[in-house]
Amino acid sequence: MKKKLFLAAAAMCLAISVPVAGSAADTIKFGVAGAHSGDLASYGLPTVNAAKIVIEKVNANGGINGKMVELLVEDDVCKPEVATNTATKLVSEGVNVVLGHICSGATKAALPIYKNAGVLVMSPSATNPDLTQSGEYPNFARTIAPDDAQAKVDVEFALNTLGYTKIAVVHDKGDYGKGFAEFAKKFLEDSGKAEVVLFEGVTPGAVDYSAIVQKIKQSGAEAVMFGGYHPEASKIIGMMRKKRLKVDFISDDGVKDNTFIKVAGKDSEGAYASGPKDTTKNPLSIQAVEEHKKMFGTDPGAFFENAYSATLAMLNAIDKADSTDLDALKKALQTEKVDTPIGNIYFDEKGDAIGVGFSVYQVKNGEFVEL
């Protein structure tokens, strides 16, 4: 029994360690990496769906310059150490471009490996400013705005449009939420127009948020600025309404997701969230959502449109450059504009998308309405 098990294991190791031969350069290898299991799976899986939809369509139309696009999907559980394995795996399978990773931390850990192999990486959701601004990751681009840009839009809106002077900043302790919150706090303090009366993190997944809501009430804040994702946002806003606390709720792109309205229901009414400029009228966006419904039978999840756009942008760059060489791709990304669900975009030399402007939305009658 034991011997057999051992033999089986050995055979398995051998089978896997034999390099995948045959599938040479006649396909474009398109990697998708992100959290596909574990607690953050709901942020990673929509990206896989987006890539599947676009690539199926492209292949049905004869591929790119006669080459079929092959999808390689790898899970990184949003953990840096797994992400390095994921990246080495993709690189040793000869990946040409990668859509991912989902979390900023995992992306930072994986990027040096892709950089070494000259692979272009485009994330639909990693918003840490360092990724583009530090200049250390020349192979990186993203279809989402960095934390500081978002925080700026939100802060200006809260100060100038709504005219608040006392603001509570709350975050979810995650790299995205806390990053956003720290920038928001900095901009608020620098403006001199408002006071940050509370700066705290909540524990994601906690069973109850009433204590923090009471604290917000006690602080006398006129508005809550929340950095984080929609599950926590809907819990907090639900609890605020349950405790009859009627202050405004301003949040970020992680909250500007239809799931937020679905989950929070009528409590979400009147909440503000920043997000890429309105895309619901964009025929490409409508089409993308329809395609998702047709293929998977459900509404798309978080970062779906960013991922869809990133896939389009990368495939377009490969098409225009007619190569998968990093420099050629970067040049194509910077010069060739592409129509995507999030707008007509191209990229600056740092890798941030130009054309993904931010605006503030408010929930009105169960829908995000651009203000």
Partner: protein, 401 residues
């Protein structure tokens, strides 16, 4: 082979599982669109699947019962094959030599990816051996082992970031700091026993992670520390492949060193004191062993290895954030020790290789990866509750002339 009765039980069990999984597998609702999806096909699949699994288990049981009775010669033969094998010095040398050669040429025959995950697996071998000191030898259930790992990783990341200290300089510092953290944890929990100890260590692990997450001024919080230097080879900067290769050999050397030390520890006065402590605390004290010192030594020595691995971890991924040091990580290291066979060095090595390489090779199953991992963990425990390689107890047998 299958009587009518077993088949009937099989059908009943299948029906039970169909019932059990009915709401989750069959119904899928969309509360907003108010759509109910009935996925009856899944119920059928569950039923058939359960029945087949049941038949396989029955068949295995049948085989086990109806095998010609194994040659029950001596209880000595209960010792697992591998321990018997290495008991003989010549065979042992041959085996170790062979393994060493395989290990040496391994990175040249496989891809960088394989080498990379092998480094991870080797790191877990050492972590497992470290935890084995605490759990396997001294019998102290530690659910927060990852805290020491985090201490090591952050020592390197921070010292490298602020003071530019290199890998080799921080390696002993990281280990030392982790050992100190081990003693700090050890003091308050000396009085605790069994599961109370487990929860306190779990709490300690969480506290360390939460502090790293929230104290941004110190640890940069959840956004983590990036651009940690990889170890330099005689002052040379290595390419990525080069440094992975270098890392691999460092890990091989480390593993051999650890095995050597742990093996010697096991036979030392301290090691025997640990085992005595595990078996019976009171008797152990009665024999004049200082319980406190022995326990603290176990905690700090275990933590020392975790600290060293933490430094290597930070150098390998070049980026760390608190998300890597969750409770699940502690649970996996503990699984390595228990699954491999508590107290057995060979067992822990095999346990680590299986548990760490398994999820990587299960990637082919994509989304079913973690499902299979959980199921395999349960199955392995059911079929080999004492672990894959049970430890050999020192026994003296009276031989009648």
């Amino acid at each position: 082979m299958f009587s009518l009765k077993t088949l009937r039980t099989g059908v009943l069990i299948s029906l039970w599982f169909v019932f059990l999984t009915f709401p989750l597998m069959v119904i899928k609702v969309d509360p907003l669109e108010r759509i109910i999806q009935w996925r009856w096909k899944n119920a059928l699949l569950v039923g058939i699947g359960t029945f087949l699994i049941y038949l396989v288990v029955q068949y295995l049981n049948y085989r086990k019962e109806h095998q010609p009775p194994a040659k029950v010669e001596d209880t000595k033969d209960q010792v697992s094959f591998i321990h018997k094998f290495i008991a003989d010095p010549i065979q042992r040398k041959l085996l170790f030599g062979g393994l060493l050669v395989i290990a040496a040429i391994f990175p040249f025959v496989v891809s960088t990816y394989q080498t990379n995950i092998m480094i991870t697996a080797l790191m877990y071998v050492v972590l497992g051996l470290g935890l084995n000191i605490v759990v396997g030898m001294a019998g102290l259930l530690d659910l927060g082992f990852v805290a020491f790992y985090a201490v090591g990783a952050y020592s390197y990341a921070l010292l490298n970031h602020h003071f530019g200290l290199g890998f080799w300089e921080v390696l002993p510092i990281g280990g030392g700091l982790a050992a100190i953290a081990g003693i700090l944890l050890g003091f308050p929990v000396l009085r605790l026993r069994g599961d109370y100890l487990a929860i306190v260590t779990l709490g300690f692990g969480e506290i360390i992670r939460l502090v790293l997450e929230n104290w941004s001024e110190f640890s940069k919080g959840p956004s983590g520390i990036s651009n940690i230097s990889r170890p330099g080879f005689l002052g040379m900067e290595l390419s990525l492949e080069g440094s992975i290769l270098y890392m691999y050999y460092i890990m091989i050397a480390f593993m051999i060193f650890t095995i050597f030390v742990v093996n010697r520890l096991q036979d030392s006065r301290l090691g025997r004191a640990w085992i005595a402590l595990r078996e019976d605390e009171i008797a152990c004290q009665a024999m004049g062993i200082d319980k406190q010192k022995t326990k603290l030594a176990a905690f700090s020595l275990g933590a020392f290895w975790a600290g060293l691995m933490g430094v290597i971890f930070a150098a390998k991924t070049t980026f760390i954030n608190p998300a890597s040091f969750t409770f699940l990580e502690s649970a996996i290291i503990l699984s390595i020790v228990v699954l491999g066979g508590m107290g057995s060095i060979v067992g822990v090595i095999i346990g680590a290789l299986v548990l760490i390489l398994l999820p990587e090779y299960l990637r082919a199953l994509s989304e079913y990866r973690m499902l299979a991992f959980g199921a395999i963990l349960v199955a392995m425990m059911i079929f080999r509750p004492q672990g894959m390689i049970a430890t050999v107890r020192r026994t003296y047998r009276f031989q009648k002339k």
